[in-house]
């Protein structure tokens, strides 16, 4: 098998036993990139020379070492909203087209310190606002399973890169489903960890109370391995949890007998396509077969979660994105006569439509006279969503739903109708509002397009989530690789 198709776990063992070198590995990945990238367009920025010289250096460093850390020499793709010092970080926006960070995000620093080789920065919806990666200012990414469809979003580049073998794994960020939904649409594994488990320092903010970085990988083991590397307290992030991070690979046991699984009926409603429902039902059958108790349940306030999310996230975004004003960094409109003109022209030309839409939506939700009715009310709904989940987790170990109501849709299909696009996050959004962990794993295919299963756990319940995901994966026939006819 070609190196680019192997998991990080297998490649780590090969690097450990010196069967391959980091240089060979990054070269293999770049060979693959050369072959498929012009079709997939997963990356915004690839620095081969930098990656190659880093791999060589790592080979030098580990020459005499018996035991190397997991990430050593593994090529990783990083979503372009995670700041990397000296590597242009654009958020897929004209606004930051030439922005060169002077510091590393905590997560970036960690993977660098632990020997990972950053292969490049991946495409995304501008400022992570979108569900298809079509909102990138630099053009869309294409789904490796069917190049006419979207890879999902906003971490579409990160998911497509992994699916297409253009990286061993990747980092994405998830505010309302932005890791899980593209993982689902691209047939890979994506985890949104508990809010606060992974530092947000250096993650360019979309909605601060919802954003979370997480791994996108080929399988559940890699997901656990990568999570091990990036989880943990960061004093630079006030919202970072002080918790002992376990070894998540210890949770990877196939045994799930007696486990209680709840199926929120609100997430299996009309919006979910028949085909997706069928795939999920089959997956539940499989889990039953493994000895789990599967039972339908209700979290009544999930019906309001989407509404609450589309007020809270834009409200926070409207404030988070105010700093893009052309003063200290980023794009600045030319030929302006005063400050006000500079602000409004810079922002008019620097931001795309979806970003403008959400900034305006959030500004409205916070503005005098509307705060209570919109933002205030949405925060109260959030309380109810949290309560619903808390109650459900008294009865169930995990909750399961589809990740996305449909498989990958056609490029351009939902661009004209923002609300339709928003509805593709209907199953993933409640998880962010509640701050709980959830994983998306492949569970089937419809017309050659992958379907994802979402497994949700309680706060800091990553181990249980991974255990269920692993048990399922080990007993599932699998998806194979995307055909990628190039």
């Amino acid at each position: 098998m070609e190196l680019h198709n192997l998991t990080g776990y297998k490649l780590h063992n090969m690097l450990q036993t010196k069967k391959i070198s980091a240089e060979e590995l990054i070269k293999a990945v770049f060979t693959r990139v050369e072959k498929v990238e012009r079709k997939v367009k997963a990356y915004l920025n690839l620095d081969r020379d930098l990656a190659l010289s880093r791999a060589k250096k790592i080979d030098q460093n580990i020459k005499s070492e018996k035991k190397i850390s997991f990430l050593t020499g593994l090529p990783i793709a990083v979503k372009d909203n995670i700041c990397t010092k000296g590597i242009i970080t654009t958020c897929a926006s004209r606004m930051l087209e030439n922005f060169n960070p002077v510091y590393n995000a905590t997560v970036a620093q960690r993977i660098i310190d632990r020997g990972a080789v950053i292969a490049g920065k991946t495409n995304m919806d501008e400022f992570a606002m979108g569900s298809s990666t079509e909102n990138s200012a630099f053009g869309p990414t294409f789904n490796p399973w069917n190049l006419e469809t979207v890879p999902g979003g906003s971490s579409g580049g990160s998911a497509a890169a992994v699916a297409a073998g253009e990286a061993i794994f990747s980092l994405g960020s998830d505010t309302g489903g932005s890791i899980r939904q593209p993982a689902s649409l691209c047939g890979v594994v994506g985890l949104k960890p508990t809010y606060g488990l992974i530092s947000r320092y250096g993650l360019i903010a979309f909605a601060s109370s919802l954003d979370q970085i997480g791994p996108i990988t080929k399988d559940v083991r890699d997901c656990a391995c990568l999570l091990n590397e990036i989880a943990g307290h960061d004093p630079k992030d006030s919202t970072s949890l002080r918790t002992n991070v376990p070894d998540y690979t210890k949770a990877l046991v196939k045994e799930i007998g007696g486990l209680r699984i709840g199926i929120p009926k609100e997430l299996m409603g009309e919006g979910v396509s028949r085909d997706v429902k069928d795939s999920v039902e089959k997956a539940l059958e499989l889990l039953r077969g493994l000895g789990a108790h599967v039972e339908e349940t209700s979290l009544p306030h999930l019906d309001y979660a989407l509404s609450a999310y589309y007020l809270i996230a834009p409200a926070e975004a409207s404030s988070n994105l105010a700093r893009y004003d052309g003063v200290r960094y980023g794009y600045r409109a030319e030929d302006v006569s005063d400050m006000l003109e500079m602000y409004s022209k810079t922002r008019a030309l620097g931001f795309g439509d979806e970003v403008k839409r959400r900034i305006m939506l959030g500004t409205y939700a916070l503005s005098a006279g509307y705060y209570e009715a919109y933002y205030g009310q949405a925060q109260k709904v959030r309380t109810l969503v949290v309560r619903d989940f808390n109650e459900a987790f008294e009865k169930f170990d995990v909750l399961i739903s589809p990740t996305s109501p449909t498989p990958a849709f056609k490029i351009g299909e939902k661009v004209a109708d923002p609300l339709q696009m928003y509805l593709s996050d209907i199953c993933t959004i409640p998880v962010n509002l509640a701050g709980i962990p959830a994983i998306s794993i492949p569970c089937g295919a419809v017309n050659g397009l992958p379907v994802g299963l979402q497994i949700m756990g309680k706060v800091l319940g990553e181990e249980t989530v991974l255990r269920v995901a692993y048990a399922f994966e080990q007993n599932f026939a699998g998806m194979g690789k995307p055909p990628l006819r190039i």
Binding site: T89, K236, S238, T239, S319, A322, D325
Partner: protein, 489 residues
Amino acid sequence: MKKLDNLEVVIGLEIHVELLTTSKMFCGCSAAIFGAQPNTLVCPVCLGLPGSLPVPNEKAVEYTVKTGLALNSSIANFSQFHRKNYFYPDMAKNYQISQYDLPLCDGGYLGVDINGFTRQVGITRVHLEEDTGKLFHVGKGGRIAQAHYSLVDFNRSGVPLMEVVTEPDLGSPKEARIFLQNLKSILEHLGVSDCNMEQGSLRCDANISVRPRGNKELGVKTEVKNMNSFKSLERALTYEVERHKQILEGGGEVEQETRHFDETKGVTTSLRTKEYAHDYRYFPEPDLVPLNIDSVWVEELKRDLPELPDARKMRFEEVYKLGAQDAGILTSSKIMADFFEECAKSYPKPKIIANWILGELSYRLNQENLQIDESAVTTRHLVELLKLIDDGTVSGKMAKDIFEEVFETGKLPRIIVEEKGLSQITGEKELSTIIELALEENLSAVEDFKKGKQRAFGFLIGQVMKLTKGRANPALVNKILQKKLEELK
């Protein structure tokens, strides 16, 4: 035009205080920014770089709670930071992390002595926020209105800023000034700020309105900014009161607006910014978690509060037997009160120390616009000088001249006396010779005295002092001259 005699002035103050912490409010950059080159004390957080996050400075919270305790506020057990959203080029994020409906300190009061009676000035709240960067306007006169463009320095961005808001309880510009002086002294005694108005670490804005006495409704208020000293606060408000009065007497209406005090012209002018209704869209800062202020900690802080100006003033009256007014003025500035007490340790007459500090020293400090710790005069200088008077080395009159030189040069009084040969002539023999000389030179005056003209005696003393260049011990001259003249009779 009708004369409105019975008008009532209503003033409320909003005071911003830069806290004396080592690092900034939400990042580790040094907060000691004065004099630093532009943009050298900045980091991703205080520059508002994408992805950066704030972490609050514990000390700044402590300082704010201490201030609240000193101002009789109730300390919130649950407090939160909010974002205040507005665009301005000195704002690194175009929002300020501030506090809104859950400030650290709620309510309170400060008793202020005004013309012999105490007025309780209500404190609305004390909260914590971050300072902004600084703008330098390039173009005519460095003023914003004529500038071609501006430069932004973010060194000040993120310095901890405490905001104290008063109720509209102040009845005159003078009261406002005295209140601010009292507050400043409290903050100095707490050690939470250096309160340097000129360097901007203490900034005061005022809301002012005027209404016919007895009216329940407040008049239209204006907000006055840019008052960089106690003097300019009083001047600006006095000007503004007069302006309001004249408008009202002319039958006009005061326009609600923000006005800028022009220090050199002594007038306030409208800022004339396009007055859009502000909509700050406050919402809870999602990058920060709530503060749950531990009541045990608050009790500890309360117990450990240092002696505050009020208590110190009473102690000065009791222990040093100073009058209320002197004690009040001395304790209205921590460094002055410290100076006084340091002197009192090595010189036994507190009243005389107070006279010198509040007299000569304050006079010169005012003239030169210096703080006591910025002048060359130390407690050692003053004590030495007072001792020289006591042991008769110099006269009071000479002491004043020596003090002037101490103030100018920082030389020790004893050295000045030696260098200039200034010590007092106390030898009776030496003085007798000089007095005899004076009598010989002024025979007509001696005749006058003999005829009973007392004035001639004073004249003769003056002549002796002239001959000795003021160094003669006046009491001794008096004694000897008396004797000599008696002999001549």
